[in-house]
């Protein structure tokens, strides 16, 4: 397959770029923040996104989606990164849909996929329990109880966890923290009795939640996939989500470069355009190169994700590279904008804040560089 967007994907990209520039410019996120909006995104926007088909890119046509696949999902995520459009797209349409698709029973799929695709139901995934990503570290316990299970423990930093209708919870049915075996996935209603949800406002003005499970009872049908083998189903879905996160990071990096180049073309100092200083030119050119190289890693990984099978190596490559590039891009953008970049009035601050959250989500550069090395056999 050629490592470029095909016509259909190119069309989707143009549609998405236009849609978010029009419907969800950065000013929308700024307003949500200034209004201290407790949802953290515009429900109207989310509904419009669903109508555009963006919520069902990973859901097959039988279940009401478009089945556009991961390249498409990445293209839309990149467009969202460019305007910092806030929505439960990542949590629900990407992670939620991928995990349901990978681990759900036919009944669970039939229940959830159409609702995800229509935007009606927001699904999210609760994995991490500490400040550092690592699914295997899961300690939250699921004990057999009354024909079903009882969940006890803590999940933290669950994206959109404060508003999600359904939460897919990684829980330990056997073994101990650190082991890959013995983990299982459960579908839990956010309003379930015994589940305490604390909204957390993050640096990027989006919302995550801490979730305390105080013996939350679920039925046997809440189990997704095989008991104790949750990681087998989760890993492929999580890797695909990581690639889409990398795509959003790519959009952020590109936007930072574009804004910076424009500033360099317009701002004068010492009587000349600062874009004529070779020191800044070379840094901008280096940043351009890093972004293009990241773009290749992300696109390759998205294509491999669509092809099916194990994508761990590609996911860690894309997430590591896109994270590192986004760190460079946001830092360079701030520095090259000088004082104005430090002001809240100017938009660049929103980009650096969102970038660090996404860099960290589902494992940062170090996590994935380490995993890349391990998967490469060293």
């Amino acid at each position: 397959m050629a490592l470029i967007l095909n016509e259909e994907q190119q069309l989707l990209k143009e549609t998405a770029d236009g849609f978010f520039a029009d419907k969800a410019p950065v000013s929308q996120l700024r307003k949500l923040r200034d209004d201290k909006d407790e949802t953290g995104y515009s429900k109207d926007l989310w509904q419009e996104m669903a109508e555009m088909g963006f919520a069902g890119l990973l859901v097959d046509e039988d279940n009401g989606g478009t089945g556009f696949g991961y390249v498409g999902a990445g293209v839309v995520a990149e467009a969202m990164g460019r305007t910092l459009a806030a929505s439960p797209y990542l949590a629900s349409a990407i992670v939620g849909a991928s995990v349901v698709e990978a681990a759900g029973s036919d009944a669970q799929k039939a229940e959830l996929l159409p609702a995800i695709a229509s935007g009606e139901t927001v699904v999210t995934l609760a994995i991490d329990e500490t400040a550092h990503h690592g699914p295997e570290k899961t300690a939250l316990k699921a004990e057999k109880a009354g024909g079903g299970y009882k969940l006890s423990g803590l999940k933290t930093f669950v994206p959109e966890g404060h508003v999600a209708d359904k939460v897919i919870v990684l829980a330990r049915t056997s073994g101990k923290a650190g082991e890959r075996d013995g983990l299982s996935l459960f579908l839990v209603d956010r309003k379930a009795s015994g589940l305490i949800v604390d909204r957390t406002v993050m640096t990027d003005s989006r919302n995550w939640a801490k979730m305390t499970f105080e013996g939350v009872a679920v039925g046997a049908d809440a189990l997704m996939g095989t008991e104790g083998k949750g990681m087998d189903a989760l890993e492929g879905a999580l890797d695909r989500a990581r690639i889409v996160v990398a795509a959003e990071l790519l959009g952020i990096s590109q936007q930072c470069l574009d804004m910076t180049v424009q500033y360099l073309q317009e701002r004068k100092q010492f009587g000349v355009l600062i874009g004529s200083f070779q020191g800044l030119q070379h840094r901008a050119a280096e940043l351009f190169s890093e972004i293009e190289v990241s773009r290749s890693a992300v696109l390759k990984a998205l294509q491999v994700a669509d092809a099916g099978g194990n994508v761990g190596w590609f996911a860690s490559l894309a997430k590591a590279k896109a994270s590192k590039t986004a760190e460079l891009a946001t830092n360079e953008a701030i520095q090259m904008h000088g004082g104005i970049g430090m002001t809240d009035e100017f938009d660049i601050g929103f980009y650096i804040k969102r970038a660090r959250v996404l860099q960290n989500l589902y494992g940062g550069f170090n996590y994935h560089a380490d995993r890349f090395a391990a998967l490469s056999g060293y």
Binding site: A131, H132, E345, L361
Partner: protein, 389 residues
């Protein structure tokens, strides 16, 4: 017993008697710092008492002459005072731009009358100063500033706008660069003048930063009258004073003291396995950082010793400013990584309202304020390496 030994004993005894117990632990944050000024609200009776007692001996500015409110101490005595204060972990009684910046400039360039008028008020913490240098179209390029001061006989009429004025909304007086000759080339025709921020026509507007804090203001001058007696140095020669001060500022920013070692923070957060940080990649990055940080710390020590030995710091201060601020930015990127997603909270008690993230964002200004990294590198290239323009 030598004079110095006697001075040490007397100082130790006086501090023992006069430094309140609550002033004997390091400042925990912004709120613990005493900035002084007309509108300063003391955080405690002790804070006020400590300032008054130290000011009464001139020890808020120990090396300034006594006639201007200083302590008149020699370098050696000043060193002993510092040592004795550190011994009991005494806080600095007063921190201000008047002490760091305007004071040294007035001592060097001011008239006797100007010194008598302004220095004692700085020493006693009565007047809080701010610095009016940058303008919207003269950031790194200070020489192209446009704020106009017209000669009106016994006063100057000032019109224009400053930006990035630190704490202008809290300051009582400003020391300000203004253009007194528009026909002159860029560096000439600039003057250095002082005036009251309560003068008619002065207004300030805090700038909200990406960290959520507002330490800087936009400052507007609309037909402000500044008395001629407050022009420092010669008219049109203010650039000399500004340059002198920038060097002072640079040294200050580059020299940020010794924060908690990064590795100690990481050890707390991540724990050790077989005596090593559990995250080997982070361990490597922290080691690289700390090798640079320790080497830089010794560089500050070396620069100070060189200055003491009579060496000219010159453009070396640009190097310290550049290196120190870049290191600090790197340090905070690593602190983010050490703290993982906890560092990315913005509100809420658990994270002290996002303190880690806000501090990280604050450091991004380090390499912009007080002369950008790019300007420091230009200075090194031209003044030290003598590369062609």
């Amino acid at each position: 017993m030598s004079d110095l030994e006697q001075f040490r004993q007397e100082t130790r005894a006086w501090l023992e008697d006069n430094c309140p117990a609550s002033m004997r632990k390091p400042a925990q944050g912004e709120a613990d710092i005493c900035w002084g000024g007309r509108r300063f609200e003391f955080q405690s009776e002790d804070q006020k008492l400590w300032l008054e007692r130290m000011a009464s001996r001139g020890w808020t500015v120990p090396t300034w002459p006594k006639e201007y409110g200083g302590g008149g101490l020699s370098k050696d005595e000043n060193k002993i005072l510092g040592e004795e204060m550190r011994r009991i972990k005494a806080r600095s009684p007063l921190t201000s731009f008047g002490i760091w910046m305007l004071g040294p400039a007035l001592l060097k360039f001011g008239t006797h009358e100007q010194k008598l008028e302004h220095l004692p008020k700085i020493a006693r913490g009565e007047i809080r100063w701010c610095q009016g240098y940058s303008e919207p179209n003269a950031g790194s390029d200070l020489a192209s500033l446009m704020t106009k001061a017209e000669d009106k006989g016994d006063y100057y009429l000032i019109n224009g706008q400053k930006i990035w004025t630190s704490y202008a909304d809290k300051a009582d007086w400003i020391f300000c660069l203004v253009r007194t000759d528009f026909s002159a080339t860029k560096h000439t025709g600039i003057s250095f003048i002082l005036f009251d921020m309560e003068s008619e026509g002065v207004s300030t507007k805090p700038i909200k930063l990406i960290s959520g804090y507002s330490p800087f203001c936009e400052t507007f001058f609309d037909d402000v009258k500044a008395d001629k007696k407050n022009l420092v140095g010669e008219v049109n020669k203010g650039w000399t004073i500004a340059k002198y001060l920038l060097t002072h500022e640079r040294t200050g920013i580059g020299d940020m003291g010794l924060p908690t070692p990064l590795s100690a923070i990481a050890r707390d957060k991540l724990g050790l396995e077989d005596g090593e940080l559990a995250d080997t990649m982070l361990r490597h990055q922290i080691a690289e950082h700390e090798i640079d940080a320790a080497s830089f710390m010794f560089t500050i020590e070396r620069a100070k010793d060189q200055a003491k030995a009579g060496g000219d710091m010159g453009a070396f201060s640009s190097m310290l400013k550049y290196y120190g601020t870049e290191l600090n930015k790197d340090r905070h990127e690593l602190i983010l990584k050490v703290n993982g997603s906890e560092a990315l909270e913005w509100e809420g008690q658990f994270s002290n309202n996002g303190e880690i993230a806000r501090s990280w964002l604050r450091t991004k200004a380090n390499s912009i304020e007080g002369g950008t990294t790019e300007v420091q590198l230009n200075i090194i290239a031209k003044r030290i390496l003598e590369l062609p323009a």
